[in-house]
């Protein structure tokens, strides 16, 4: 066994051992571990010590050293065993395929494309216009190429690829502007009412300690955290592509934002969205967002969120934004229950429903009606104007 090899080389680590360790670090890196030179160096130091002779203490030592979070922790033993106990070779590679499938290490391209910029992904644009066979006739309005007018056009009716590109860019911009305004308002509000004793005393030593020149303490207001859950089911498909851009803008602009997509199940998509390369982010997300066509389980997805994600991502200044048409194939009672739970945890629930923009819409879907009592703001989201109208609301939170 390789363990014997470890104990044999305990005094002064041979070149072979160094190579093996480098190989181990590499296979950890392949599995998404963040292993740097410092860790490898420390590992070498550990290997030179007597406890390393025993695999029962070598494994926990290396585990403490190389792991950085719980998911690392859970996968480490398999990788370790594969590498050290099965004579190493290339078995670790096979492990990397099976155990790490959930984690694709993001490799940002250096300066590929403009970050905020024009979404120039042909495949994406095609997909969008493909979905609009019917809307073609009236979709192309005369003024639709002008940005101001574009804002009022229902997103379903924007079909010209150039317009789509512009609408998407606008969505990104909008998300960024929402953030920018939030910050400014915070700064205006920053007039605290508490005395800062430390500064006051320091400033007034020359007045003999008489507090002439007062220093005030400013209240620091934490930025709003925004969690967006996007319905990517079939019934939303006309809007999905657009909202993916909106999500990208939000995640990129808010310091504290998390994004999820759901159809029959929920997926956490903040990490792929943080890719500054818009085209690739959208690409990666499109794969995750593809509805399988089993309907929409809003209630079930929310249950997943409440059970597994809420504790980590929700704090006292969190607004949850759900973008969905409210057509739930699950039981409406479940949706109602989960909405109630969610309501108790977060500050506001905003439900954006593209259908509200349609003429004569009233929330008839059973799921939508079950959810309504827990919603703070039920707003349309069928065009850019309606999204822009949200900004003052968010700023007041």
């Amino acid at each position: 066994m390789a363990v014997a090899a470890i104990s044999a080389s305990e005094d002064g680590i041979g070149a072979a051992m160094r190579r093996r360790l480098a190989g181990f670090s590499r296979s950890l890196r392949d599995n998404g571990f963040k292993v740097g030179l410092a860790e490898t160096r420390d590992a070498l130091a550990i290997l030179a010590l007597p406890p390393a002779a025993r695999p029962s203490s070598l494994k926990p030592a290396l585990r403490s050293l190389f792991c950085a979070n719980h998911s690392d922790w859970e996968r480490f033993d398999d990788i370790f065993d594969a590498f050290w106990l099965r004579r190493g070779l290339r078995q670790a590679r096979t492990v990397s395929g099976s155990a790490a499938e959930t984690r694709i290490p993001p490799r940002p391209l250096p300066a590929a494309g403009t970050p905020t910029g024009t979404p120039g992904l042909p495949g994406h644009v095609e997909r969008h216009s493909d979905g609009h066979g019917t809307g073609d006739g009236r979709g192309k309005r005369e003024g639709a190429s002008r940005v101001e007018n574009l804002a009022a056009v229902d997103l379903r009716h924007i079909v010209d690829p150039a317009d789509i590109a512009r609408a998407n860019a606008l969505a990104e911009c909008l998300a960024r502007v929402m953030r920018a305004r939030l910050v400014r308002r915070e700064q205006v509000r920053r007039r605290g009412r508490r005395l800062d004793l430390r500064r006051t005393i320091h400033r007034n030593v020359s007045h003999g300690g008489t507090p002439v020149d007062l220093a005030w303490r400013r209240r620091k207001i934490k930025p709003l955290r925004l969690i967006v859950m996007l319905d990517t089911s079939g019934s939303m498909s006309l809007y999905t592509a657009f909202f993916v851009h909106f999500l990208h803008g939000i995640v990129g602009a808010f310091r504290e934002a998390e994004a999820f997509v759901f159809h029959t199940r929920l997926a956490h998509v903040s990490a792929p969205l943080r890719d500054r390369d818009l085209a690739r982010a959208v690409d990666r997300l499109a794969l995750m967002a593809q509805g399988i066509g089993g309907g929409t389980r809003i209630g079930g997805s929310l249950a997943t969120f409440n059970r597994w994600h809420a504790r980590r991502v929700i704090n006292s200044r969190t607004a949850v934004m759900i973008v969905s048409d409210g057509y739930d194939t699950g039981a409406p009672e479940l949706l109602g229950d989960e909405m109630r739970r969610l309501r108790r945890r977060c500050r506001r629930i905003i439900w954006l429903n593209p259908l509200i923009g349609w003429r004569d819409y009233s929330p008839q879907a059973r799921g939508m009606r079950a959810a309504l009592p827990y919603i703070d703001l039920f707003a349309p989201a069928h065009n850019l104007e309606s999204l822009a109208a949200l900004e003052p609301y968010l700023a007041r939170l």
Binding site: D42, P50, S64, N69, I201, H202, V205, G209, K222, R312
Partner: protein, 293 residues
């Protein structure tokens, strides 16, 4: 003085900490590599206990910094004693000292109030610094902490730079309410603390609950393990187990099977939300008891 891994594991046992297999290695490594140790795990698995045990092992002082939202450097690092400063200004002014001398005087060591982080680096004998629930503090504080952990020096504007007299053993705990930064994670060794297994939990109950009999402890440990497998919102931690064990011992229960009524009624020690309470009905406890006993 660096203890070997076996020494640490022996001493942990001696101070009454029932350790899981690997924690001794992590604690030894912490000393050897001089890195902080980050402990993660569900609430109630006994992360804070590890720090207390480590302090006991080394016979060191435990300095604890409890993090919370809005924790700032004043509360974590140092504060001036304002009342005394004001008093000193007045009296010295009386004897006609000039402003500069007064300033020199009131920003001296005598008027400095140590807070945990400053205290931790100014001890002769290296203490154990426990930064509890670091995920509750905000990102700015985390960045500041990172700086402190790499340099072990603190600069106080009115006073100068304070270098560490001894390097404390640093332990951080996190409940995972917020994702910690990669930089902090990289800086630390990592250990995931899980709920103790049945055998270990039984030993914990035995050492912590005086006068309880061995058969009952293993029943309790198995019952708690079964309750944890139920779909609960708040999973009972080790502290809850100990409460429950103490309660049962107080009620002079000797065999859970004999007294299902008492078991059901004392479930409030383990179950802490109304929702869970309605889920764990009499039938459920009976079913669990049947499996356990």
């Amino acid at each position: 003085m660096t203890l070997s891994r076996d020494d640490i594991s022996d001493r942990l046992a001696a101070v009454g900490y029932i350790a899981d297999r690997d924690i001794a290695t992590a604690l030894w490594l912490m000393d050897y590599l001089k890195r902080p140790l980050l402990l993660e795990g569900e609430a109630g698995v006994g992360k804070t206990e590890v720090a207390k045990a480590l302090a006991a092992v080394h016979g060191a002082e435990l300095i604890r910094l409890q993090c919370y939202e809005g924790l700032d450097q004043n509360a974590a690092l140092y504060e001036w004693n304002y009342q005394r400063q004001l008093l000193a200004i007045k009296t010295r002014e009386g004897i006609g000292e000039d402003a500069e001398a007064i300033e020199e005087h009131i920003f001296s060591e005598r008027y400095l109030l140590e807070r945990p982080l400053l205290a931790a680096i100014r001890r002769e004998k290296p203490p154990v610094l426990l930064v509890d629930e670091v995920d509750r503090a905000d990102e700015e504080f985390e960045a500041f902490l990172l700086e402190l952990l790499s340099d072990f020096q603190i600069s106080i504007p009115e006073f100068g730079t304070v270098k560490a007299i001894s390097i404390p053993r640093v332990m951080l705990t996190s409940n995972g309410t917020r994702e910690l930064s990669d930089a902090l994670r990289r800086r630390c060794l990592y250990h995931y603390v899980d709920f103790p297994d049945v055998e270990r939990e039984a030993r914990i109950i035995l050492t912590r609950t005086p006068g309880i009999d061995t058969a009952l402890t293993s029943q309790i440990a198995r019952m708690v393990a079964a309750v944890r497998k139920e779909d609960l919102r708040k999973v009972p931690g080790v502290a809850e187990t100990l409460d429950w064990a103490a309660t049962l011992a107080g009620l002079e229960v000797h065999d859970l099977r004999q007294e299902p009524e008492a078991v059901h009624e004392t479930m409030i020690c383990l179950i802490k939300t109304r929702e869970d309470r309605s889920r764990v009905t009499r039938e459920v406890t009976d079913r669990l008891l049947g499996k356990v006993a």
